[in-house]
Amino acid sequence: MTDNIPPFDGRRWHDMGGDTAQAVPKDQHDFSLWEKRVDALMILCSAKGHFTVDGLRRVLEDMPPESFETMTYYERWIASIGQNLVEAGVLTPAEIGQRMSEIQTRGATYGDATRG
């Protein structure tokens, strides 16, 4: 069924400048340690030449539009960093998956599961 798909207007979802939207939300949260670590990993991996900010952006922009509503900013970033590191041959999907499974048995919260 294609009835509900709007015609493509030449822009992808992230290219949202000029759209209508609600009032600007002013809520602010303090960045969590895990979010700062994601940011640091991006800067370090790009500084060491494993991928570039353009690679980060490409994966973010290839995510479906719902990602912007269902994932937080740094959730999207770590997903993109993982994908870029796999493409660069630094990590494999199996390594990441196995380690995540092991991490999820370590404890109930981030503090319990993280080391260092």
């Binding site: 303090d30 993982g82 109930a108």
Partner: protein
């Protein structure tokens, strides 16, 4: 650790701190551990990067603006090549191009990143949540005066508004107008009038009356 859901800065903690380990948090731990094990980075390097991130705040930008207000040669250098001028003050933006845009009595500049969240981190630290919101990204280029009014910046119709759309490689910093009644102020005192939002363009520098009485230079 129990807490009252507010951080020392008065902002709510992100819900993620209070709920079970999330899928994406587990991925962060996994990627970080694997990168350390493979020798791509070290725990100390990551901690050092976070320290550097935490050390960058709008106080950096405020120093730059206060110097622009008091040092004509520096102002000229900033308008010529803001990347080089800020690097010389120790606020290196790296390979990115930084452009300083100056407000006047008849011109107001505001910065947005419609595509993502690009921001002059070397001068302002990490961007606020609203800067990354759909509403700000969408509307700032469509109806900037309405957006600015939501931030309390109402502009006369004859004030020109320029909206600057940042990219991954090119960032902007707004130079707010120097408040009246600050003749003879020291650079450090002036810097205390320069807010984060005044350097994004969604605010103005504080007036002398905006400082608490005890903070006001005499």
């Amino acid at each position: 650790m129990p807490h009252d859901h507010m951080s020392p800065s008065g902002h709510p903690f992100r819900a993620d701190d209070d709920v079970p380990l999330s899928y994406w948090q587990a991925m962060e731990i996994a990627v970080r551990e694997l990168l350390i094990e493979k020798g791509v980075t070290t725990a100390a390097e990551i901690a050092s990067q976070i320290d550097a991130m935490d050390a960058r705040s709008p106080a950096n930008g405020a120093q730059v603006v206060a110097r622009i207000w008091t040092d004509p040669a520096f102002r000229a250098a900033m308008l010529q090549d803001a990347s080089a001028a800020t690097a010389a003050m120790g606020f290196d933006i790296g390979p990115m191009k930084l452009i300083a845009v100056e407000n006047t009595d008849t011109l107001h500049n505001v910065v947005v990143c419609t595509l993502c969240s690009c921001y002059p981190r070397n001068l302002l630290g990490l961007p606020p949540d609203w800067y990354k919101s759909r509403a700000y990204r969408s509307r700032t280029v469509r109806e900037p005066r309405a957006v600015l009014a939501e931030f309390g910046v109402t502009l006369p119709d004859n004030t020109e508004v320029r909206v600057h759309d940042s990219t991954a490689d090119m960032r902007y910093i707004v130079i707010p107008t120097r408040p009246a009644g600050t003749d003879g102020w020291s650079r450090d005192d002036l810097a205390r009038l320069v807010t984060r939002d005044s350097m994004i363009g969604t605010g103005r520098a504080k007036s002398p009356e905006g400082l608490a009485g005890t903070d006001r230079p005499t």
